[in-house]
């Protein structure tokens, strides 16, 4: 499988996963690009991989985590520099606000926004990517039962939110 085939099969799904998890178009594009560069760099032997889709999402998830770590470090440094300069208390969030946020509140991102990250991830992988709990467990490095229970809690929260229950 070459890079074009890889993108044609999984590219859009990967982008959707990232867009839902990150909530930012630019960040999603960056992480997707980093993931493809990583896959290109290591010249993967696809014939040896039993489940290429789960493998690709595992690589994607690792890249996503790397991106988050970089962002957190960057935000901390920015906050520290800002506090030193201004000698004022840190802002609640240094992450730039996405101009599309207002529009997104009525979409999937809005519905998923209140969920804890691990539940949100499992719901995205199950509902929008169609993975089984076993595959999700492999991707997230948790047991199948843990993946299923995260999904259950997540779905309960979404249900109560959509149906207006407390």
């Amino acid at each position: 499988m070459n890079l074009q085939e890889l993108y044609d099969r999984y590219g859009e799904k990967m982008y959707q996963y990232l867009a839902l998890r990150l909530g930012s178009k630019a960040d999603a594009e960056d992480v997707l690009q980093e993931t493809f560069c990583r896959l290109a760099r290591y010249a993967v032997q696809w014939a040896l991989i039993g489940n290429p889709r789960a493998f690709v999402f595992k690589v994607l998830r690792n890249e996503f985590n790397r991106h988050l770590k970089r962002r957190i470090t960057q935000v901390r440094l920015e906050r520290a520099a800002f506090n030193e300069q201004e000698n004022t208390p840190a802002r609640s969030s240094a992450l730039p606000a996405d101009p599309e946020d207002a529009v997104l509140s009525k979409s999937v991102e809005g519905v998923l926004s209140g969920l804890p990250d691990e539940q949100k991830e499992v719901v995205i992988l199950k509902v929008f990517q169609g993975f089984s709990f076993r595959e999700i467990g492999g991707i997230c490095r948790v047991s199948t039962a843990t993946a299923a229970s995260r999904y259950r809690y997540g779905m309960d929260k979404i249900r109560s939110r959509l149906e207006g229950k407390p």
């Binding site: 074009q4 993108y7 590219g11 594009e29 690009q33 560069c37 290109a40 760099r41 719901v123 979404i158």
Partner: protein, 152 residues
Amino acid sequence: MKKPFEEDELMENRLRSLPLKPVPDGLRERILGAARAERSSRAWTTPRLRAGLAGTAALLAAAVLFSALSDRSHTARLRALMDGHRTVQTETERAWALDAEDLGDSLGPAEFAHEKRMMAYRRTAIAPTAVRFEKKFNLEELNGQGISEDLN
């Protein structure tokens, strides 16, 4: 009353019906371009260098093969010329041949054979004794110092 998994299915369908962010135009080309650039920058050789290396390796292999074949045909030609006899002499054989030339035709075949055996024996038996003698009296060192033979 609906079962839990039916409720989940309904909820999943409801979530799927919500709008997702569209994939930006030109994202495919951008991603693939970056991935290709990454691959080419990480490659340890350029395509031209790889072709050059392959060509050199092929030339070397051809030269080695040609040399081996040429040696083989040369040996076969020599063997045919010598009617199957060996052409290469060992050191001992060469020494014997020179000694035999020195002896000339003065000896008869039986005496000559006896003389050859004696020469071979001397060559193998006497040489180690001479070495031991030289070591014992440290002659090599003395010779190096250019000591006169006239000890008186």
